[in-house]
């Protein structure tokens, strides 16, 4: 089955936090515009903050923090390799977004003086209030779902987008697969906003369980791959993110530090106090990771989160954060292992490799208007390079929605190419038609193994070239995949997105002939940071053969 649906002014790929804000902003700017969210799952629970989030990590609150402090902090954390105007734009509108969220029913607790309850992240403890975090209560996705519904925004759910169509003139629409009806659909659109999340399924986790990963597995790298295939440029793909997590569980290991826990090595010694120096999340992640690796190297690993110094009040606070909004199944994990917060040591370690433009800096190259280099194509959320976490998704979403709807009002109806639609239909449906072949999850496991073995740190020229050799063989296997059903057909497309991500990261890692960002990009063969030659973007684009190609470009405003 194939169907072309009604044309949209603004088509938004992904109904997470970023996509919802984009849709609301577009509709508020022009209530007559046809705005549609096309979501892989449901708007109610789709995306990384499915069950809520305990805090917003970046917000500039008048009287408490300043936009320029935020810009300085994030630029320094990114070691200068980030567009400062994007961070500034997020800072400037962050308080407005907070007020919107509040008016829709999200709760930001106030203290006894009637001011917002803010806290410093563990990494910001020594600094001025450069980055203010604010506690958040309420089921944010349910709230956003309701606000989207109220405004008459069109929605297509259970409908993973597989392709963004673009000609030399710009974006013309999207195609996707309805995984409930089996219908391959095409939606002509004057503008398209990519809000399809991070590249969560990148490295293979220590447990070997494909979905036992930090970020939502529905975010398979769709944003990155969709942009890449539409001709958009991506930056910092060589800066591969890891989180610090409770080992073998996909819950954050750093939240306990903000609540007063400390990190200790196997000898029970606190080892971080001296190395956590600065005021910057990314910078301190690097300090932390270097310190963890040092403890292992010198025979004092594993490392543990020591929750014993916590007062009963702090224990209760941390349990509330862990067991409700942050990750409800945390409770089961601790119960299964007989671990009690406040009494026990909890082993921590680095997560699998992740791509993320919100918590990291790699993603689609956008400017302060959320524009990509493809006309009519915008990006926000964890797939866009912004380094401002959930607030970046909210604000850039709002900006993208506003800009897109204005652009749409001036543009002619999109002219989709029938040949491109047909080719996409064939690509998406082919795995369902094969009598036999490779199950998508087997191919996924192979790609993610290659990422662990050859693409992730420590990197070197020979390892990365070996990765390219393996990846090009795996690319050939794409046309041998067999999908058992529609759920599997979605996976077959996701696997190709993961493969695109691996290709992009490998090419960018080869291009950046220096080491930077601690373990996020460590080249054994170029071990030093080289600011003189490398305070630049490595921009990745797709060449005619479909492979990643790189160019080195100056940083805007840098």
């Amino acid at each position: 089955m194939s169907q072309t649906t009604k044309r949209a002014d603004v088509a938004i790929v992904g109904g997470g936090a970023a996509g919802c804000l984009a849709a609301i902003a577009a509709k508020e700017a022009n209530s007559a515009a046809d705005v549609v969210i096309v979501e892989k799952a449901s708007i109610r629970r789709g995306g990384s903050i499915a069950c809520g989030m305990d805090a917003i990590n970046v917000v500039v609150i008048p009287g408490i923090s300043k936009v320029e402090d935020l810009v300085r902090a994030q630029m320094s954390a990114a070691q200068g390799i980030l567009d400062p105007s994007v961070v500034r734009a997020v800072g400037e509108e962050s308080f407005g977004v907070l007020q919107d969220l509040e008016s829709w029913g999200a709760k930001f607790p106030h203290n006894e003086q009637g001011q917002y309850e803010t806290f410093k992240q563990w990494s910001a403890r020594d600094s001025a209030a450069a980055v203010t975090s604010i506690s958040m209560e309420g089921d944010v996705k349910v709230i956003l779902d309701r606000e989207v519904e109220k405004r008459g925004i069109r929605r297509m759910e259970h409908a993973p987008v597989t392709s963004i169509h673009a000609t030399g003139e710009g974006a013309t629409g999207i195609s996707g697969l309805n995984i409930r009806t089996g219908e391959f659909f095409t939606l002509p659109a004057k503008t398209v906003i990519i809000a399809a999340g991070s590249g969560a399924r990148f490295g293979l986790p220590e447990t070997g369980v494909l979905h036992a990963i930090f970020d939502c597995p529905a975010c398979a790298g769709d944003s990155y791959s969709l942009a890449f295939r539409a001709g958009a440029g991506l930056v910092n793909m060589e800066c591969v993110k890891h989180y610090f997590t409770v080992r073998y569980f996909n819950g954050p290991g750093l939240a306990p530090l903000s609540h007063g826990s400390r990190l200790v090595n196997a000898l029970g010694q606190a080892f971080l106090e001296k190395s956590a120096s600065g005021d910057l999340e990314l910078q301190n992640y690097m300090d932390l990771f270097s310190a963890v690796q040092r403890e292992y190297k010198e025979g004092r690993g594993p490392v543990y989160i020591d929750t014993r110094p916590l007062s009963p009040n702090k224990v209760a606070e941390l349990e509330r954060c862990f067991f409700t909004t942050e990750r409800p199944t945390f409770k089961k994990f601790f119960e299964e292992r007989g671990v009690k917060i406040g009494r026990d040591l909890i082993e921590g370690n680095l997560s699998e490799a992740v791509l993320c433009g919100g918590h990291g800096i790699n993603g689609i190259n956008v400017n302060a208007k959320a524009e990509t280099n493809v006309k009519g194509l915008y990006a926000t959320g964890d797939g866009a390079a912004n380094a401002t976490s959930l607030m970046g998704a909210f604000v850039l979403g709002r900006i993208a929605g506003r800009e897109a709807v204005a652009f749409a009002s001036k543009s002619a109806n999109p002219a989709l190419e029938a040949k491109a639609i047909e080719a996409e239909r064939e690509r998406v449906l082919a795995p369902l038609k094969r009598a036999e072949g490779i199950p998508p999850i087997l191919l996924e496991r192979k790609i993610r193994q290659i990422v662990n073995l050859y693409v992730d740190n420590p990197k070197s020229g020979p390892k990365l070239l070996t990765a390219q050799m393996h990846l090009s063989r795996l690319k050939e296997d794409v046309s041998r995949m067999k999908a058992a059903d529609l759920h599997d057909a979605m996976k077959a497309v996701e696997v190709q997105a993961i493969l695109d991500c691996a290709d992009m990261v490998t090419a960018a890692s080869l291009a950046r002939k220096e080491s930077r960002w601690g373990i996020y990009h460590y080249r054994v063969d170029f071990p030093k940071r080289d600011d003189e030659n490398w305070k630049k973007f490595v921009v990745v684009k797709r060449d005619r053969s479909g492979s990643a190609t790189t160019s080195v470009e100056p940083i805007p405003g840098g």
Binding site: R45, G47, H211, C216
Partner: protein, 66 residues
């Protein structure tokens, strides 16, 4: 089973199939009951447990090490 659905509580409303971020559930039309058809894809976010109107779902963790 990693995801346990109590057949005595499930009313076949399909909320779980609608909201799961990673498409784990389908409604068994014959039995009028939800089933966790793709439970190995579970991210154990707990959305289904919380949204099920009859509290019929219990999510166990996958077999994580150690």
């Amino acid at each position: 089973m990693q995801i346990q659905i109590d057949p005595n509580k499930c009313n076949g409303c399909g909320v779980c199939a609608d909201i799961c971020p990673v498409d784990v559930f389908r409604l068994n039309e014959e039995k009028k009951l939800a089933e966790a058809r793709y439970e190995t894809d579970c991210w154990y976010c707990g959305a289904c447990e919380g949204d099920c109107p009859t509290q019929a779902i219990y999510v166990r963790l996958p077999y994580l090490l150690p």
